[in-house]
Each structure stands twice: as structure tokens, then as C-alpha cells.
Amino acid sequence: MPIATTQPPPPSVLQSFMESIAAPIEWFGGLCLFAAQAIRECFQRPFEWTEILRQTYQIGWQSAPLIVLSGLAVGSVLSMHTRATLERFGAESMIPTALAFALVKETGPLVTGLLISGRVGAGIGAELGGMRVTEQIDALESLAVNSFHYLVATRVLACVVALPLLTVLMNFSGLLGGFFAEATISGMSFPYYFHAAFGSLAFSDFIPPTAKTMVFGFLIGTTSAYLGYNASGGAEGVGRASTQSVVLSSIFLIVVNVVLVKFIAFLFPVGGA
């Protein structure tokens, strides 16, 4: 195209569009590199056992009450809905089975992931952000400690380990909550309920959805650590890192879940997802 004018051409629509998406793309590229480094550092010596255990305790064990309570509530609500549906077909005896399937295959992993991205994502974002803006990360480095290895890899690993365990806890609490609801309404016995719930669940129904929460853990850990580790701008920056950690790790988790469900359905066609 010949350009005859001497004035600089006004920025085209395309150009301003490109500029407006450049920053998010750069940010996302940074996140991907960060995630790749996190994977690499997780396998690098020295293993920070004390720090990994401490983080797993904080991320996993200290989230347990939240998970149990939510599980009980979600389970009882789910069972009430299931009952309302199945009653119409006279299939009340299927309630434990239906509930178990719903919980184990999708509700348990997803609700656990979202709850943890709230509690842990905000925590990691704020903690690392605070350490960054108060120069504590620089102080670690000045003491000859690889801050990425010590702070980031340990937290990501702890999230990956904690998520499946918390999901199992969520599933059990959900079933228990469902049982309480069911027992109150129909007086169903405990042995019958659990026999019915687990009787029809195959290992392949349980393992893939639970294992996929390791991916959730990785997403929560890397996203929130990325935001915290690179925080700037004082207390306000820390607040921003914390909020964005929750928002972004929840969104990533929900989107990636769609892909994972498809993937699992593809790998385990009989069990389905």
C-alpha cells in the first residue's frame, strides 16, 4: 500500500487493538514460563521437606474444617434435589447411588477446587506479595537461598498434594451430609445408604476425577504464587495480588475443568465423565 502523506498515520483500529491485548498476552506468557519453572524446580534438589510439610499442613490440614462443613451442606442439599427428581419415578432407592456419582465425578472436585482457590489462593497471593514488597524475598536471596525454589515450588507442590486429599474428604462429607438429610426424611439406615452409594462406583469412576484435582492444585498454586511473587506497589499491590489470585485461579480452574472432563471422557469412555 503506498503511503503518500508526510504526517504519521493515525493509529489504526488494528494497531490499538493489538496494543490493548499485548499486555494480557505478555502477562499470560509470563505465567506459562513461571509454571514451567515451577515444575522444573519441584524436581530439583535440595528438596525442602520441612517447608513442603509446613505448607501442606497449612494448605491441606487447615482447610479441612472448611471442606467438611461445606461437604456436609452440599451433600444434604444435593440429596434433597436428587430425592425430588427420583421420587417422581419411584426410584428413591437410587438416591445414594445418584448422589455418590454426582459428588465423586464432578461436584466434589469442583467445589473443593473453588473453595481452595478462595482460601489458599488469596493466602498465597497475599503472603508472597507481602514478602515481595517488604524485601523479604530479596533478603532470602541475599542469604544465598533460591527464593523461587524455597517459596514457590514448595507451595505449588503442597497444593498439588493437598487438593486430591481434600477432594476425598469433601466426597465423604458430602455423602455423610446426604445421609443425614436422607435419614431424616426417609429413615434410611446407614449401612444400606453407604452400601448403595459405593456399590455401584467403580474405581475408574473415582480415580480420574480425583486425580484431576492435582491439576486444579497446580493451577491455584502457580497462579497465586505468580501474582504474589511479582507483586509491586506496596500494600495496595499486595491487596491486588490477593484478589486477582482468587479471581484468576477460579476462572482458570473452571475453564480447564471443561477440558479435563472431555479428556477423561475420552480416556475412560465406559465410566464417562
Binding site: T134, Q136, D138, E141, S142, L143, H149
Partner: protein, 246 residues
Amino acid sequence: MSDAITFNGVSKSFGPREVLKDISFAVPTGGAYVLLGRSGSGKSVTLKLICGLLKADAGAILVNGDDITGRDSNALAPIRKHIGFLFQSAALFDSLSVGENVAFPLRRHTNKPDGEIRDQATAILEKVGLAKEFQTMPGALSGGMRKRAGLARALAMEPAILLIDEPSAGLDPITSNEIDQLLIDLHTNQHATLVVVTHNIPSARRLATRLGFLDDGHLIAEGTPEELAHSEHDIVREFMKSQQAG
């Protein structure tokens, strides 16, 4: 005598702001170099460059003859083990007690038993007058106490090079003198190389074997305290006349 620290044409910018422009200087091993300059002139940035916490945009930085520019965290670790850094903000780990802050580098880099590490940390805290604060959390310390705790942590590994950012900021004259004396001891008895940033001219005169004056990104004056007192630059002479501590 070889140089502990060498800057060769080092520049550093943050976005459009050029903080250091083509800086060159050297600190001989065992020397005590005091960096002066007005607030915002890039003194803290210079210290962070020496420790590899910031990367230079241009030029080379040598520590004990090793070029540190472009090294990553793992490659810097062996060098950093010989460097003690007191941050302007002290930068104590706020999840650890004061004593554990001091013990932290010892736990990381030595295999000593717990009891010995605690004794050693207590001994260092005693030097900075904080022996009673072993269990205190950093949040509960005053500004001057944090500074001293930060100094204790920087001294823990008995580093050969000490980078000290405003040791006497926030300290009363008596404590400030004690800290100066501690630094002079480290310098004369343990032959540590010191790079000290300070606004306290009397203390700078006591400590320094050599001083550098940063202004507008350039090292405009360098020399002994006497030489700087007769500098061609008004601002340097005015600085050196100040008797004010702080």
C-alpha cells in the same frame, strides 16, 4: 591487594528513569567504602547490584574477581554466602522470631546442631544489644531494633563482604556509635570488606577508608574523607561539613 568489588561502566534504569549512568569504582579487599548521596540518588540500588538482587543493564560487576552479571539465583548462591546484606528496611522475616531470623542462614548453610545454632544466634544478638529479644517477633520491635536485628542476621555467616544500608538510621547517638564501633571492629579485626551507605557524616568519617559520592546517576567524587572535604563540587563539600547524625 586485589579488589573485592569492581564496577565497570555499570548502568541501571527503571523504565525511563536512569538511576545509574556508567558507574565505575572498586573496593579493595578489606577496604571500607562509604557511599554518600542525596535521597533517591541510587545508593540502595548500588548495594543491590553488588548482591545480584538487581541486574545491571550495561557494564560488569565483579565480586572477588567473579563476574556476577547475568548469573541466576543458583549461580549466585556461592558468592552470596560470603556477603552479608543489611537492607534499608531491615527486611526481617516476619513469620520468624528475631532469634530465628538470625539463626536462619546458619540452619540453611551449616550442619551444626540446634543448640549450637541457638547459642551462636544469641551471641550475635548480644553484639547488637538485642540478647533479650530472641523470642520477640519482628512486628513487635521498634524501627531501630529491627535495624539492629537485620544487622545481626547479616553478620550471622561471618561474611567477608558486608553491604550495609544506613546502619544508624533511626538509632539514638549512643546506639549508633556502638553499631559504628561494631563495624569498625569487623573491619579491623576480621578484615571484612565494608560497603556502607549512610547520611551520618561523622560516622562516615570514622568508618571510611574511601568514600564515593553519587549524584544524578554519576559518581561525581571519590576519595578519602579529607579529599572529599575539599572537593571541587559544592554539594560534596556541603555534605561533608554536616555534623548531623542520621
